[in-house]
């Protein structure tokens, strides 16, 4: 087995200062809501980390999650973190292809049996194995084969976590999520369409540091990033409370940065870190840019009534059916009245 340098070795070789490294560890600790005392531990763990094997499987996906990851804000450090995991298999990023690529995957699995991480993006089609294949292998087969020796599985992006856009109505490919299929390995969902880069790397950093997965919510998402709603952390919340809403895009309210509830914002039911961590190194997030939250880290967000349909919009069914109900009501009432009249007439005659 070739010597695998530790992360510390690599960083040193790359000329990353100790100070810079410690700053990163402090930021990570803060992100994970860990006390400052944990920082040296994170530093120690990361420093001594052997680059664990990571196999990244891409199924029915748009590659947006990978794109998000590579748009990381501190390319130097995060890129290095990525260098410090042995990314042994990734469709988009790897150089190899075809048989060579598959061979690499199998080699990584064998060498690190029981210890490698499987990261998945994209949903898995169950309608027909032929809908999505890699090197002639169906997504389903590849997934089940690869997770056999995995330490844990991280479903990255809403497609892998919940089925995502392929799984949206009418779900023509029969797309399902990772957790629908993988039952005997720990699965962490990092949803979002795409997820925030820092969220992805923080989950990995936690695993690297502590060798265990973070606390998860009822949807299998790390509570640290998915424990609060956008609504509860949104900087526009005071406008919601005051009743100041943008009515249309680019109207006076929109320009004043008022609440986007009426434009369909799903913030109240969406759990993610967008309102605090934001995107592009804290530059902005959709609401701040004037667009209502899509709710993209929630299961089935494509089918929640529409991105621009306000959360409190009801679905009253078709006009036709309502008309039908009206007709039925009138008919029943008429029948009751006729019966009542008959009775009345009968007894009037009797007297």
């Amino acid at each position: 087995m070739k010597t695998i340098p530790t992360l510390g070795d690599i960083l040193q070789a790359q000329g990353v200062s100790r100070r810079g490294f410690m700053k990163y560890c402090a930021a990570t600790a803060s992100l994970l809501a860990l006390p400052p005392a944990m920082v040296p531990r994170i530093a120690q763990a990361l420093e001594q980390a052997r680059r664990p094997s990571v196999i990244w499987l891409s199924f029915q996906e748009c590659t947006g999650c990978t794109e998000s990851l590579t748009r990381s804000s501190s390319p130097t450090l995060e890129g290095l973190i990525f260098d410090s995991i042995s990314l042994d298999y990734h469709h988009t990023l790897q150089a190899a292809s075809g048989d060579a690529a598959e061979a690499a995957r199998h080699a990584a699995m064998e060498e690190n049996m029981g210890q490698y991480l499987v990261l998945v993006d994209g949903s898995i089609p169950m309608g027909n194995p032929g809908f999505s294949t890699i090197a002639g292998i169906s997504n389903y087969d590849m997934l089940m084969e690869t997770v056999e020796g995995a330490a844990a599985v991280v479903a990255i992006g809403s497609c892998a976590a919940f089925g995502g856009i392929p799984g949206a109505n009418p779900n023509p490919t029969g797309a399902v999520s990772v957790q629908d299929l993988v039952k005997d390995k720990p699965v962490v969902n990092v949803p979002g369409c795409p997820p925030i880069p820092m969220v992805i790397t923080a989950v990995l950093a936690q695993f690297l540091t502590f060798g265990q997965l973070p606390e998860l919510d009822i949807h299998g998402r790390p509570v640290a990033f998915f424990g609060q709603t956008i609504h509860d952390r949104c900087y526009r919340r005071p406008f919601y409370e005051q009743g100041k809403f943008a009515e249309t895009f680019d109207d006076e309210g929109a320009r004043k940065g008022w609440c986007l509830f009426k434009l369909g914002c799903k913030g109240p039911i969406t759990y993610n870190a967008c309102a605090t961590v934001k995107w592009n190194a804290g530059t902005s997030f959709p609401i701040e840019s004037g667009h209502p939250c899509l709710g993209c880290s929630e299961p089935g967000f494509w089918d929640k009534g529409g991105f621009y349909a306000p959360l409190s919009t009801g679905n009253f069914g078709s006009g036709g059916k309502l008309a039908g109900a009206a007709v039925a009501g009138v008919a029943l009432g008429a029948a009751a009245a006729v019966a009542g009249r008959r009775r009345q007439a009968k007894y009037t005659k009797e007297a």
Binding site: E241, G243, F261, N315, L322, A325, G329, A337
Partner: protein, 217 residues
């Protein structure tokens, strides 16, 4: 389909169908019964205007009865006004109506709405206590009275809990709130909540009959 999807979808749909069908059933069932013909010579014009007059005036208690009925009347006003303020002047609700009416109207700030909701619930509780303790009300009250109370207060209550959370996830609270509204919609046509639409019929009828007599309404 999770609870919220169910509440916003099939639950509200079915509730809407039942509401529409039920209201028409009850109204038509009453109005299509035999009409009592009236041949007496009127003292004053009756008809539609008389009906409208009494629909309006009966909202206010006549002076001789004011003192005796002041307490429950005030509570009822607080309950109704608070209830309507919450339903029609809270922006997320206005958006709800806009969804099928096609137009909207200005709302009030959330804290004002919250206060109205609290006032409505407090008035509702006071009215319930009265119904349980006043001898007249104890005698005449039945299941309909208590169930209608429950079904009316529940949406307000669940709505008030939403910002407070009480350890429950927001989307669950929202689902429960919407479901409680669905229950209200389903019950409304059938019990005494039907006064929502019957009040116009009963007051209007009395207006027409007694105004034409020149009698006090």
């Amino acid at each position: 389909m999770d609870l919220l999807d169910f509440a916003r979808g099939p639950a509200l749909q079915v509730a809407a169908y039942i509401l529409v069908a039920g209201v028409l059933w009850r109204l038509v069932g009453i109005l299509m019964l035999k009409e009592k013909p009236e041949f007496s010579e009127p003292r004053k014009p009756g008809g539609f205007m008389a009906a409208l007059k009494v629909i309006y005036t009966r909202s206010f208690t006549a002076a001789p009865f004011k003192r005796a009925t002041l307490y429950p009347k005030m509570l009822a006003y607080v309950l109704h006004i608070g209830f309507f303020a919450v339903i029609f002047l809270f922006v997320p609700h206005i958006v709800f109506f806009e969804g099928f009416l096609g137009f909207d109207w200005p709302g009030l700030p959330n804290n004002v709405i919250y206060l109205s909701g609290v006032a409505a619930v407090v008035a509702g509780l006071a009215l319930l206590v009265r119904r349980l303790t006043d001898p007249v009300l104890r005698l005449i009250s039945n299941f309909d009275d208590y169930f209608s109370w429950f079904v009316t207060i529940l949406p307000i209550l669940t709505g008030l809990i939403m910002p407070v959370r009480m350890g429950v996830r927001y989307e669950t609270l929202l689902a429960i709130h919407i479901l409680s509204v669905a229950v209200l919609m389903i019950w409304l046509p059938f019990g005494k909540l039907g006064h929502t639409f019957l009040v116009f019929v009963t007051r209007g009828t009395t207006g027409m009959v007694f105004e034409r007599r020149g009698a006090k309404t």
